[in-house]
């Protein structure tokens, strides 16, 4: 009988992790963020959740407090709307001072075909996934740099590692965000602020449910475990999750363009 070891969920950790205490989640109602927050709650972290729906935020707040979070603040904002960003940052600075980690977890994935036919859809995709993301991260990064502490983490995608026929608009927005984070990392390094680029492979989330084979995608709980692990440790700078995607993408990047352009995936 072949049996493979499988990690089971265990009782929540009793001792809070000392490394991170006060964490801001931008896009708190996204599928991956939900799992990350739950695991942070078990560790007794303090959280500030930013998302659009007041009702969903209220439900999340109770859930995370019962599960062990020390404190959960919520703030309603549409992060895709850049003029709301100043208020988000001000709220964080005044009501959640001394925060040490910012995790950007929102994103959108339109149907690629739509953005090929409509410049509006194309620009919306770039605006949500790239422009607004860099805009909201900028004041937070400056604040952490000034305080010479903490960590900026953002969820991009393996789709940003190479432009593919079927998904290059989403991919280019996420790839641009990865580049932005790369530069930001170098800038914040002297101040001792970490920048983590999180590149998940396909994950079973509300964003991917409509895709074929979505049942085979990674479990968000596993992805969240990797993310929380990366937030706790000093490495890596770029997290591929599940880890196998580091090797897959290394191989994919080796394929010569003359062959790659003929591939339809």
């Amino acid at each position: 009988m072949t049996l493979t070891a499988h990690p089971t969920t265990s009782l929540p950790a009793v001792t809070p992790a000392p490394a991170m205490k006060r964490i801001i989640i931008l896009g708190a109602t996204s599928s991956i963020a939900l799992e990350v927050q739950r695991q942070l709650a078990y560790q007794g972290c303090e959280l500030l959740l930013v998302a659009r729906s007041p009702q969903r935020l209220a439900e999340l707040q109770v859930d995370l407090v019962v599960r062990g979070a020390q404190q959960v603040l919520t703030y309603c904002a549409d992060l895709a709307t850049i003029r709301q960003h100043a208020a988000v940052f001000e709220f964080a600075r005044h009501s959640f001072p001394g925060f040490d980690t910012v995790l950007l977890a929102y994103g959108s994935m339109h149907n690629q075909k739509e953005s090929e036919g409509s410049v509006d859809v194309l620009l919306e995709e770039l605006r949500v996934n790239f422009v607004s993301a860099t805009a909201i991260l900028t004041p937070f990064a400056a604040d952490l740099e000034r305080r010479r502490t903490g960590c900026v983490a953002a969820i991009t995608s393996v789709a940003g590692d190479r432009g593919r026929r079927s998904n290059y608009v989403y991919g280019s927005a996420k790839g641009a965000l990865s580049l932005f984070l790369q530069g930001l990392r170098s800038r914040l390094h002297p101040a001792g602020v970490r920048v983590i680029t999180i590149k998940p492979g396909p994950v079973q989330t509300a964003m991917t449910d409509h895709l074929p084979n979505s049942a085979r995608f990674a479990d968000p709980e596993q992805v969240a475990r990797d993310i929380v692990g990366a937030l706790e440790r000093r490495s890596p700078d770029v997290l591929y999750t599940p880890r196998v995607w580091r090797y897959i993408m290394t191989a994919v990047q080796q394929i010569p363009e003359t062959i790659f352009k003929r591939l339809s995936f």
Binding site: S10, P12, S108, H210
Partner: protein
């Protein structure tokens, strides 16, 4: 974020005839579904219910029902597993409000460290609150605590025609009784208030006692039910009408400070070849199991998870039965008809088709919490049969005859093949339940046993 456009996309993809294979725990029958909705928030349920065709939907949880009661072949499912938030908890009373997709495992992980435990738990922790209500599940404490439904104080039920309906003892009490054991047909459990119970720690004072006849089991059971909160027996189903078995009984132990490590088990990676589990290997397993437990009989303090959930330690144990899957047979027979019960055991032993999971329990006399609740006074036995086609079904039909003649009943959560006549005999009140069914809901099981469309 672009939730709206993603929603548009999901609606479009609904138009394509996607065939989603969803299986129940027995992996029989193999069914295809037209669509599986995966709401992550309660506020998405009204749209799903409104847009659906009549009789097209069924809520689905962790898929631990064995047969077809959690399936809706050729139609749609609402996968409720992402509706898994705890919406409130009163530390002074132990009342918890949680969404329908919260698992019992999750409840234990969150509340055991706070000193609370489930009032009733089935033999697996991997079921949802919605599923526990829909099947009005029972556990080893049925003789003193009744079913899970007896501890549900209030339900918020999403219905397609009248929105969120609050059901409790004062408001819509009939809908509460219909939903408890209602097989998911009355609507989607948005949230439920469950009364947890105090528990000193994760330990059980357990005792195991070998027995060698049905009467010996009954004596043990009657003698233990007053003094022990939990009683159940394992039975060697190859032994016939004078079965040997091991009687397990236990109470919560006072916390004695011993360090507790949750069990971490292996996982079956794929369906094992069907020939591995045959009458010889199953017989050998039963003999070995009996001898090992008989040898270490006596009292011990054991962790709660190995006492309540021995099978959960092997993830996906249902793959043991091979690709064809298996059927479970769980019936209850009134104690007055003990000969009928012996006859049942005889037929199972003679068939040589039983397997290693024979579970025996004497139900208590608590009144049923729901209209279609299965537990009732009598002896209940649950047994697995590997699916081997016609001869497996024939054996089960011959067991049906005994159950029906003796005034017994079969458990819908375990069933994939009972006849409409046996369903009627088991649940004579089912026609009273029909008006409470949500017009958008149906299931493979319901269509099979009632002829509904």
């Amino acid at each position: 974020m672009s939730g709206q456009s993603a929603a548009t996309l999901r609606r479009e993809s609904a138009a394509s005839p996607l065939i989603k294979r969803v299986l129940s725990w027995g992996r029989y029958p193999k069914t295809a579904h037209h669509k599986v909705h995966k709401p992550a928030w309660n506020d998405q349920l009204p749209d799903i219910l409104r847009d659906a065709a009549p009789g097209s939907l069924l809520p689905y949880g962790l898929g631990r029902s064995y047969g077809d009661s959690c399936l809706n072949a050729g139609r749609e499912l609402i996968d409720c597993r992402r509706l898994n938030r705890i919406l409130g908890f009163d530390e002074s009373t132990g009342m918890v409000r949680c969404e329908g997709g919260v698992s019992l495992s999750d409840i234990i992980d969150v509340f055991l460290p706070k000193g609370w435990f489930l009032p009733v738990t089935p033999g697996t922790r991997f079921v949802t609150i919605g599923g526990a209500i829909a099947n009005d599940v029972h556990g080893k404490n049925h003789h003193c605590a009744g079913t899970f439904g007896a501890h549900v104080r209030q339900i918020g039920l999403h219905r397609s025609n009248d929105g969120l309906v609050i059901c409790n003892a004062d408001e819509n009490p009939d809908m509460l009784r219909a939903t408890t054991g209602g097989l998911g047909l009355t609507g989607v459990v948005a949230w439920a208030d469950i009364q947890l119970k105090r528990m000193a720690g994760p330990w059980i004072d357990a005792e195991s006692i070998p027995f060698q006849s049905l009467n010996a089991f009954l004596d043990l059971s009657r003698d233990s039910n007053d003094r022990f909160e939990y009683t159940v027996a394992w039975l060697d189903c190859f032994a016939g009408k004078n079965p040997r078995g091991i009687f397990f009984r236990g109470n919560h132990a006072a916390d004695h400070g011993k360090e507790f490590h949750p069990q971490r088990g292996p996982r079956l990676p794929f369906a094992l070849p069907a020939w591995l589990l045959n009458r010889y290997s199953a017989k050998a397993f039963n003999t070995a199991y009996y001898r090992i437990h008989a040898a270490k009989k006596g009292a011990a303090v054991v962790p709660y998870d190995s006492f309540f959930y021995p099978l959960d330690s092997i993830r996906q144990w249902n793959l043991l039965y091979g690709r064809q899957g298996f059927l479970q047979y769980q019936c209850v027979i009134p104690e007055a008809n003990l000969e009928a019960f012996e006859e049942l055991l005889d037929r199972i032993a003679a068939s040589g088709m039983g397997s290693f999971l024979g579970v025996l329990k004497q139900f208590g006399s608590a009144p049923p919490a729901g209209m279609l609740s299965f537990p009732r006074p009598g002896l209940t036995i649950a047994l697995d049969f590997a699916m081997r086609g016609e001869r497996t079904l024939k054996l089960m039909q011959s067991l049906d005859e005994i159950v029906q003649q003796s005034g017994g009943a079969l458990y819908p959560a375990k069933d994939a093949r009972m006849s409409p006549a046996l369903f009627e005999a088991s649940f004579p009140l089912w026609r009273d339940f029909v008006p409470y069914i949500d017009p958008k809901m149906s299931s493979s099981f319901w269509r099979r046993v009632t002829g509904a469309q």
